[in-house]
Symmetry: C2
Amino acid sequence: MSRTADRSAQGETLSRAVWSVLAEQGLERLTVRAVAAAAGCTTGLVMHRFPNRQALLLHARELLHRVTRARVEALEAEAGSPRAALRAVLLQGMALDEQTRQEAIVWMGFLAAAVTDDELIAEHRRNNRAWRERVERLTAAAAPEWTAGRVATVALALIAMTEGVAVYAAADPAAFPPADQERMLDATLTAHGLDAAGEGDGEQRRS
Amino acid sequence: MSRTADRSAQGETLSRAVWSVLAEQGLERLTVRAVAAAAGCTTGLVMHRFPNRQALLLHARELLHRVTRARVEALEAEAGSPRAALRAVLLQGMALDEQTRQEAIVWMGFLAAAVTDDELIAEHRRNNRAWRERVERLTAAAAPEWTAGRVATVALALIAMTEGVAVYAAADPAAFPPADQERMLDATLTAHGLDAAGEGDGEQRRS
DNA sequence: CTGTTACCGTAACATCCGTTCCGAATGGAG
DNA sequence: CTCCATTCGGAACGGATGTTACGGTAACAG
């Protein structure tokens, strides 16, 4: 019975090795041999665990989604209010430390790899749509009086902005320090009337 | 004398072939042979024009910057007002048609390739900082009474949002139609008090 | 027309890739 | 202990990659 557990654990180890190689060496050096070396094994084990390289990448992509989703759900549960939840969830999507910066690079690497891989692009779209729906739900909870259209528009602005700044900061951390990113998020939330100060009275904050 | 012109034209042809392969086949299939095939020549010509593959990619990256910069400057010159200029320049940075969608994919491909290429990452940072300064300048012109800090924060929000939505839409055009992107931009400009309606009276639009 | 030079297609090279396959360990069952 | 199934290291294979070197060819000078 520990067999299947071992197999699953090995799959996770290999997937984390995929992330590591993707973050440190990029997509061009993301070879089965490099992954095996990062995981401390040989290509034999990799190819026994996964039928081919494509399946290895797909599993790593899926695991990345599960891990980030768990983190987001924990943040959402811990938050004291809808607006705090929205802010916390958006914050973790930016590149504020080495951890999230590497995640942004890995995310982008998978996206670049998905151009030629139908399963990867399908997985990417599934995950992105789920992410969008989550932020729409959080936005609706943060501004209950908004129409569905306005919620969708503002939620799109928020996910696009955080994803964009994550990519920018991942590629040039010195030019996009965490403080700038956080200020940007707060300024945007305030501009849309989603700052915590007005919690509960919706967009009446200015009147 | 037509020698250098031909050489330059060939370099441009090859660089456009790089874009084409990058957009249609992705970074993993971006080989010298694939580029040569897309350009309708052989690998011999490619390697006579550029010392190695790295130099070929770098030239293609630089040319992409020059082309988009020329387009942006034309839009800026044509615009009737600072706010119209800001909006037009941001609009062209999103993925609204097949042309800009492919550009977003290519942009992302170069970024993924830059992880292992010091010259590519340096070029990327140069271009991004220039882009950021341009949008800051346009934002300052659109809201003359703002402090430099606020200009920088809002400009960052705008470039991050447009870049982010371009990447989203490039990977999933059906989920992010042009109308959604445009609505998102206008809603954000309005939220920051940068919509054309209030042109000239700065952020007094709400009082 | 002849010789020279620059240009570029072609073929080769060493290397690296994903994948396959064989055999040696390992560990549990009888 | 023996036997067998499973697991995995490691070598090997066909193919692709970046790069180099050679050879032909076209254009231009004299």
